[in-house]
Symmetry: C3
Subunit: 410 residues, 3 copies
């Protein structure tokens, strides 16, 4: 290691950090676009405050929960105290060959908020703001970093004989969000009028342009999410990750396009958009392990699964306005398994380790998010009143409208 390479590595990690940052605008746009105009301020409010929560809680406790240090290697939980304290040599390659302490912190902090952002889409249009903020603080501040520690902090999933592998977080990030989304959507129940005695009623999002902007920004940011997870600017690995990330997203678009055309006989842009995301979630666990063809298959299957997932969750009446559970939970499980099926680590032992990781993380996230949401439901309540839901959360929770100058339809 020398100062030049250290500076290059650190520069890439910082650029990757801001690419992950802009993913929060991607989530905000996507979720706002796929929900109704009367709830737009609410969605945007949540997606604006969540990154702020993520950054602050991660500085306060999250980072020290997720990276408690060597004394906790192989463990389940560890914590080294509140707040940020600079280690010796924090700004040299003695700390890390790829980045300074602060780069380490800020790159990871940008990831942290993602978990709650994923949930926000699934519980949209009916959750009360206060309980959602409470959930977000607890889930982002405590649950996410504990799970993260299991793998990235050197915990027990990393210490398996065949270590669980999750390059950039199909499980550690996306399915963590996905489980919270599933529990939240289930405990809240469907939006009024979604499942009627006459069957399922589509509730279209209010702005396809915003949804499209959101997906492009997410894809854009994903080059930092996956590319930064190389933890250096190594030319070979980062460029491979770029290619697999790009190809998987593209293949996801086609997987969803073809599947949705077969099922619905129409060119459904929301399915294509979610297909891209599912392809990206799918490649995330093994973006550094796959070739071009494997990335295309993983992405394509992700695109198929997201369409089937949306249909499935509607069938069991779990109402997920933006398809977040199908994208992040189904896609995350698929991507995690794919590491055992394709690429450099493929093998039955790896499949088993991947299944262990999926199951343990799933159980923990399911239980903790159930605990949080259920406690809130029993105490202060998590769902807005029927009148508020019908009128929209913007007027009732924020005394505002997203588009006050335009006439609503009917």
């Amino acid at each position: 290691m020398n100062q030049e390479l250290f500076t290059i590595n650190n520069l890439w990690m910082m650029v990757a950090t801001i690419l992950v940052f802009i993913m929060h605008l991607g989530f905000a746009s996507l979720e706002a676009g796929l929900t109704r105009a009367k709830n737009t301020v609410n969605i945007l409010f949540k997606n604006t405050i969540i990154p702020a929560i993520g950054l602050l809680t991660y500085a306060f406790i999250g980072f020290n929960l997720m990276y408690p240090g060597e004394g906790f290697a192989g463990g389940f939980i560890g914590f080294t105290g509140v707040g940020i304290s600079l280690p010796e040599g924090w700004n040299t390659f003695a700390y890390n060959e790829g980045y300074t302490f602060f780069t380490d912190f800020i790159f990871q902090a940008m990831f942290a908020a993602t978990a709650a952002t994923i949930v926000s889409g699934a519980v949209a249009e009916r959750i009360k703001l206060g309980p959602f903020i409470t959930f977000s603080i607890l889930y982002v501040g405590i649950c996410y970093p504990i799970v993260g520690m299991w793998k990235w902090g050197g915990g027990f999933l990393d210490a398996l004989d065949t270590p669980f592998y999750d390059f950039a977080g199909s499980t550690i990030v996306h399915s963590v969000g996905g489980w919270g989304a599933l529990v939240g959507a289930f405990l809240l129940g469907p939006r009024l009028g979604k499942y009627t005695e006459h069957g399922m009623r589509a509730i279209p999002g209010h702005s396809i342009p915003m949804a499209t902007i959101g997906v492009f920004l997410l894809w854009f940011g994903w080059f930092g999410f996956n590319g930064g997870s190389v933890l250096s600017a190594d030319p070979g690995t980062v460029s491979l990750v770029f290619v697999t990330t790009a190809i998987a997203g593209a293949a996801g678009a086609f997987g969803a396009l073809i599947t949705s055309y077969i099922k619905f006989r129409t060119y459904d842009i929301t399915m294509v958009l979610n297909g891209i995301l599912a392809g990206l979630v799918g490649i995330t666990a093994g973006a550094d392990l796959m070739g071009v063809g494997e990335a295309a298959i993983i992405g394509f299957v992700g695109g198929i699964l997201v369409v089937l997932g949306v249909v499935f969750f509607d069938r069991i009446k779990i109402d997920d306005p933006v398809g977040a559970i199908s994208v992040h939970l189904v896609g995350g499980i698929w991507g995690t398994l794919a590491v055992g099926i394709f690429g450099d680590l493929a093998g039955i032992q790896q499949v088993i380790s991947q299944l262990i990781g999926i199951a343990v993380v799933g159980a923990f996230c399911f239980l903790t998010s159930w605990l949080i949401f259920f406690s809130l439901k029993r105490s202060i309540g998590i769902r807005v009143e029927e009148r508020e839901e019908l009128e929209g959360l913007d007027i009732n929770e924020h005394s505002m409208q997203a588009y006050p100058d335009f006439a609503p339809k009917d």
Copy 2:
């Protein structure tokens, strides 16, 4: 060459890659903004699926058509097989001093889809989806890389005594798209109600904010499009290219503002936006050859030409809803010629070579896009039915609306 410089160069090329990627969101936003709300889903669908097509076809055949290797130097066409195969030393500076094989591929792949994106704007609001997708696959997958090979793959335009010069693609990228746009718009005919017996009727785009977002994102991405075309992070050249790119865009805004004010006596923001783009297209061929003053002149003239172009094409009743032909074809020809008139290579021999390049590329693109569009027109048809056009493509091709919560005017 050493590992440090190689890593820096590769890093810049990867950053440039994602900047070019986000240009696709720029095109999507611009084209959606400049067309009507009833066709917005359709436009966004096309601009979302085109990058996916570009990435996949480029991996499948495009890259090997565009860079067939030394055996085809000076040639017209070459091909080394389907799919991506890694050469020896692909991730070292033995492959290339500026980037790895995968960086090479992904940077070029991001360019590829641009050609079809440009077309999509000119044929908007009346083309059938299936034929457009077919055209895009063929044009992006085959025609674009063949033209690209002529110059960037070491083909015959690069082998002229005075080599044709096109730094980042005024001709190779933008006019390739522009010719397809011209042919498509001509063969489709104008939108219903555009040219009546009472003269030309303006059909305003439905969202100036989206158009503005689009142009800013395109300008943003252009720093990667032109800056990445340096093919290294060389401080002097890349910073020069940044300056010429910025100045030409700014001067294009003023060229169009002044020209449109003189012609129409109003401050027309769509002309200013297209003026910026025309300035950028104009500087693209010689962004590394010009000084600040020359960049300003090239951009300013580009801005003038785009206004005159829009007026001209309306006069000959070629209906281009977003002005793509004026921006990319007129601007591309201007920029390519400008290399012979201004800057380091100026001279009569260079003008001749530039004219040869413009003519040969033009003839090839005109013929191939005519062949594709005309075959489609005669077989499955390329234009939606009158009723569908009046109702909008969103309802008829996608069974969706872009803004279902808002009341349309009238």
Copy 3:
């Protein structure tokens, strides 16, 4: 210094340059979102033409006014001629260890336009286009670089015994814009119907999504604004600046959220958005001097101040449609003072120097912007006619509508 580090440094400065560039889209989106639909084309027009003005005037005279060279060290004004002339060794580390001459120019040029963009929000919905453009050219082309020279060009504020400190421009950039905004808003008077005999009437912005997109893009770009102001890719300093920038923005969100909830008993997203910006403006002067806790305090107080500022300026009937004065002037003064209160330079001497800088810059900007706006008011007039204001500037100044396909409310 060696070629490798020079190339890395220059690369980061170029990336930072395009991050600052995209802030102009951030301003455009934010200001358009927080004003009414009938004035949207006008706002976007101004925010599109301002960066063009900034780039061209900075090339023509601004750069040479702001960095007149050593002969003017400690001075009040200097100028070395019109246009860009390349110094010897401009593209080597002989020119500068962090960047080439052209990188120097383009990074600074991207900053320049910011001053006028800030003004544009405060004077929105009632200023005539011509006079605003005139003001912008003079303010960006002349006033801003003179102030910039006082500190960054080695002028008298940099030569104080305890030098005035302003890392990335809380005073030099943001308050320069803020003073112009204050003067412009005052001389124009409030929008019709804003302050009536029945009290202040809220005039909500027409698109919360656009405002949200704007703030995220500004935050995104701020990593380049502050991070690039390190003037090299030094891993320790840039990563520290990233952390303080991120934390201050996040804390600003909470400062404004809590304050506005206490005052208005509602979750006001526009206050949260402006709170983020005020946190960012606040940290800008000392982003390289603070720890995590100090950044959080500075951001949090910025968030409080922006809410109090909005209330205050409404009380004294200075109508600022987007809150620009509270964000950039109040936030800028707070951030500049904070350098004397917190962090590495804290101390009474520093407070005094900071106060001197605030006062001198304030006096100069107040006077020059008064002079420009007042001359324009007395000559060609600065305010549109009552009828034009009521109908909207889009129809009257641009003969266009931003959203022609949608029905306005009422």
